[in-house]
């Protein structure tokens, strides 16, 4: 048994040091492409760290968003930067005087030490709200505590988070987007690749959504896997038709938030409480919310990757 403890300890130590080192190199790299690759590696190790911290839900989200889609988004952003700016790499940050650097180092290490001490003295085990969550799990309509918190106990926060996603799209669109890049023709291998993989992605998303009711998974993870399928489609040269880019797209982007608001109004009218689901209906309502939120999240992520405003005439 002792061997295992030592091995686990060594694993965690290497993981922690590796994360710190990667974070530092990522911030510090003047080559943006190198920074992105380092960031992707950081996401991979971070997911492992969540696994070690016994938080498989976050590991799943990190795998889907942190290591997976963010990498693709950053690479697409880098490609756009290259088309709009000259190819020179950004200069090093101004170094500042020795005095400034020294002051910064003292300030940062001081705060880091203080923070480290504050974390060090934290009680190692506090139950927090987990007792209350467990006690109410039966009436929440979900068997996975994380899902119960996200969609029932704190569903109001999730409703606002759906608006955050929508705002991200609005922000990009309001800038008018950039002229579409001349796409590279998709080669036959890529075509076959996406033809085969996209159904697998959809199946995986459906599986994650379904399993979310009683195990780690759910709308955010399923949405990002589905969004990745959209990204793959876009990469193999598929473009949504002009008609699809009008109100059907806007409806898909908002359907998650709309469902939350409609359910909110209904519960306010019938239960006098915002998002208070009747116990008998709670399970069904959560499934409904999760499925439609999955659609919105997936479309949002794919649209973020596309990065263009829906109306080509609106370009500034």
């Amino acid at each position: 048994m002792d061997v295992i403890v030592v091995l686990e300890w060594a694993f965690d130590a290497v993981l922690g040091l590796g994360l710190l080192w990667l974070a530092w190199r990522t911030l510090n790299s003047p080559d943006l492409f190198k920074a992105i690759v380092l960031f992707i590696s950081f996401g991979l190790l971070m997911a492992l760290a969540w696994v070690r911290l016994n938080a498989p839900d976050i590991a799943l989200a990190e795998a889907a968003i942190g290591a997976g889609l963010t990498g693709a988004l950053l690479l697409a952003a880098l490609a756009r930067l290259r088309t709009t700016t000259d190819n020179t790499m950004p200069a090093q940050l101004p170094a500042g005087s020795w005095f400034q650097r020294g002051l910064l180092i003292v300030l940062l290490s001081g705060s880091a030490a203080g923070l480290g001490y504050a974390v060090w003295i934290l009680p190692s085990h506090t139950s927090g709200l987990s007792m209350a969550v467990t006690a109410n799990l039966d009436v929440s309509g979900a068997r996975n505590p994380v899902t119960a918190v996200l969609l029932n106990f704190r569903g109001y926060d999730t409703m606002l988070e759906m608006i955050v996603l929508l705002l991200a799209v609005l922000g990009i669109w309001s800038l008018g987007g950039l002229p579409p890049r001349p796409e590279r023709p998709a080669v036959a291998v890529l075509d076959t690749f996406s033809r085969f993989l996209i159904p697998v992605f959809i199946l995986a998303a459906a599986y994650l959504l379904w399993v979310g009711a009683d195990a780690p998974g759910g709308a955010f993870q399923a949405g990002s896997v589905l969004g990745a399928a959209g990204v793959l489609l876009l990469l193999s040269g598929w473009r949504p038709g002009v008609r699809l880019m009008q109100w059907p797209l806007r409806l898909a982007l908002t359907i998650g938030a709309i469902t939350f608001i409609i359910l909110g109004v209904l519960t306010l009218l019938y239960e006098q409480q915002l998002l208070a689901y009747p116990v008998a209906q709670a399970g069904r309502m959560i499934i409904l919310l999760e499925s439609l939120a999955t659609v919105s999240i997936a479309v949002t992520l794919a649209i973020l990757f596309l990065g263009e405003s829906p109306d080509p005439e609106e370009k500034k």
């Binding site: 927090g128 569903g155 608006i163 705002l167 608001i261």
Partner: protein, 491 residues
């Protein structure tokens, strides 16, 4: 009907209305202007409904999802929250009327949904009673504000929006780390529950430091105000008004709330620090404002200075914390009215002359009398001359400082007022003069002039209603503040 109106859950409606309005604007861009204006007007009515309920039945509480804190999320509104909601609704209405004529159709399509989401986020923030929910609303507010800043898509707007975004994210993350520490320490994110459990130890101190630093960054407290002037100066005029009048107040409100409920008892040293930074902000911001050659930058630096006044309440709070919070909220309101009027007036001047160079204002007073009156009236409140809201607020603050023997703070306030007079008269002076080279001017829609003037008049009227307002912020305070307010008027 009467019963329905009296029993309706106005707090929830105040949040759901702008959310729905924003989604409608997004789905049907063609109707966004109409839908936007109607929504903002409806929010004003809903806030009035909530106000009536609070006056009749006391503080408002709604248990979202029926779970109740600490497991679920509670919405909570007392006089202070109500006051901030009223501020947001009224200033928001004025700015919306202005924005109706300001934006071209292409930008309007994006302005309205984002502004309505911002309104929803602000309302949700003022109604929150849970530090994690506050984080979510803070994030929503920041993201909407950044989007609005970048709306014109010009290079300077984009680069200052980027800087703004990074500052906002750094602020939110620092706040979130504080939330995590507090949750781990006390096992709750509900403010009321935390208030019972919190005890000063290293973890709570770290949380206090992180949250205060993050919120001070978001409120642009000197020297963390580096992001504010470029962002506020390069945004479209209605957006600058929203940012300066409402968005910075949101993070300030959270800080005030945390202080009142959680930290006031044991963080006196930090209070002193916040007060010192506030005093530095007053002096530095005013001097910078005096040096500017462009109106929008001048107004933006003036915001940095006026935020300083808000932070002076912390060192003065120890003696009478409730009253100090009331003064801070009152100052925030009068600043919101005055500063939005100023930014809108600056927008009119820019529309009129195509530039905002102070030296080339070229007899604006003859050609845009309403706009210059708005600027002057708002200036009266910023300088703190009677009978404006700015005067009453600053007088109460001065009163508190002198009664506690803080002559240093009192001196800073007086110097700040003199400097403010300097930069406002600088603008007004040039508005009367003829420029060396006269240039052609463009027409400014009447709605834009009147919106600016009405907000400025509001900042003066606020001074005349001080007693009623203090009664609203905190019923218990009337006894305290009543005497002070009376002294203001007999003085």
């Amino acid at each position: 009907m009467e019963a329905i109106l009296a029993n309706a859950d106005w707090g929830v409606i105040v949040i759901l209305l702008p959310l729905t309005g924003g989604i409608v604007c997004f789905l049907w861009p063609a109707v966004s202007k109409t839908a936007g204006l109607i929504t903002v007007a409806a929010v004003v009515l809903a806030v009035a409904g909530l106000g009536r309920q609070i006056m009749e039945h006391g503080a408002y509480r709604h248990t979202v999802g029926g779970w109740g804190a600490p497991l679920g999320i509670d919405l909570f509104a007392d006089g202070l929250s109500l006051f901030m909601l009223i501020m947001t609704a009224l200033v928001g209405l004025g700015i919306s009327c202005y924005a109706k004529s300001y934006f071209n159709p292409r930008d309007a399509v994006w302005f309205w949904p984002v502004w309505l989401f911002l309104l929803a986020a602000l309302n949700a923030l003022f109604l929150a009673a849970d530090i994690f929910n506050l984080y979510v609303t803070l994030e929503l507010t920041g993201l909407a504000a950044v989007t609005l800043t970048a709306l014109t898509g010009r290079i300077d707007a984009l680069s200052s929006a980027m800087r703004y975004l990074l500052a906002m994210l750094a602020g939110s993350l620092a706040y979130l780390l504080g939330v995590a520490l507090l949750y781990h320490d006390s096992g709750s994110v509900d403010i009321a529950t935390l208030a019972q459990r919190i005890e000063p130890n290293a973890t709570v101190w770290a949380a206090l430091g992180l949250m205060s630093a993050g919120l001070a960054l978001k409120t642009a407290l000197f020297p963390l105000s580096f992001w504010l002037p470029p962002a506020h100066a390069s945004a479209p005029a209605p957006v600058s008004a929203l940012l300066s009048a409402l968005v910075v107040k949101a993070s300030f409100y959270i800080l005030l709330r945390l202080w009142l409920e959680l930290f006031a008892d044991f963080a006196e040293g930090v209070s002193t620090l916040l007060g010192l930074l506030g005093a530095a902000a007053i002096l530095w911001g005013s001097l910078q404002a005096l040096r500017q050659t462009r109106i929008k930058l001048l107004v933006a630096y003036s915001t940095v200075a006026q935020i300083g006044y808000l932070f002076l309440v912390y060192p003065l709070a120890s003696a009478s914390s409730g009253l100090a919070a009331g003064i801070a909220a009152y100052l925030a309101f009068s600043h919101a009215l005055a500063k939005s009027a100023m930014f809108l007036a600056a927008g009119n001047l820019m529309r009129f002359g195509g530039h905002d160079r102070i030296a080339d204002l070229d007899r604006a007073v003859q050609r845009l009398p309403l706009t210059v009156s708005a600027f002057a009236l708002a200036g009266v409140s910023i300088m703190g001359l009677p009978p404006s809201g700015g005067f009453t607020g600053k007088w109460l603050l001065l009163d508190a400082a002198m009664s506690q023997g803080r002559w240093d703070l009192a001196a800073v306030m007086i110097i700040g007022g003199l400097l403010a007079a300097g930069y406002i008269f600088k603008v007004l002076g040039y508005a009367f003069m003829q420029a060396k080279e006269p240039h052609d001017a463009r027409a400014v829609p009447a709605g834009m002039e009147w919106a600016a003037l009405l907000l400025a008049v509001g900042s003066i009227l606020l001074g005349l209603m001080a007693s009623e307002i203090f009664a609203l912020i905190h019923p218990d305070l009337v006894a305290n503040a009543g005497g002070a307010v009376e002294r203001v008027w007999t003085a």
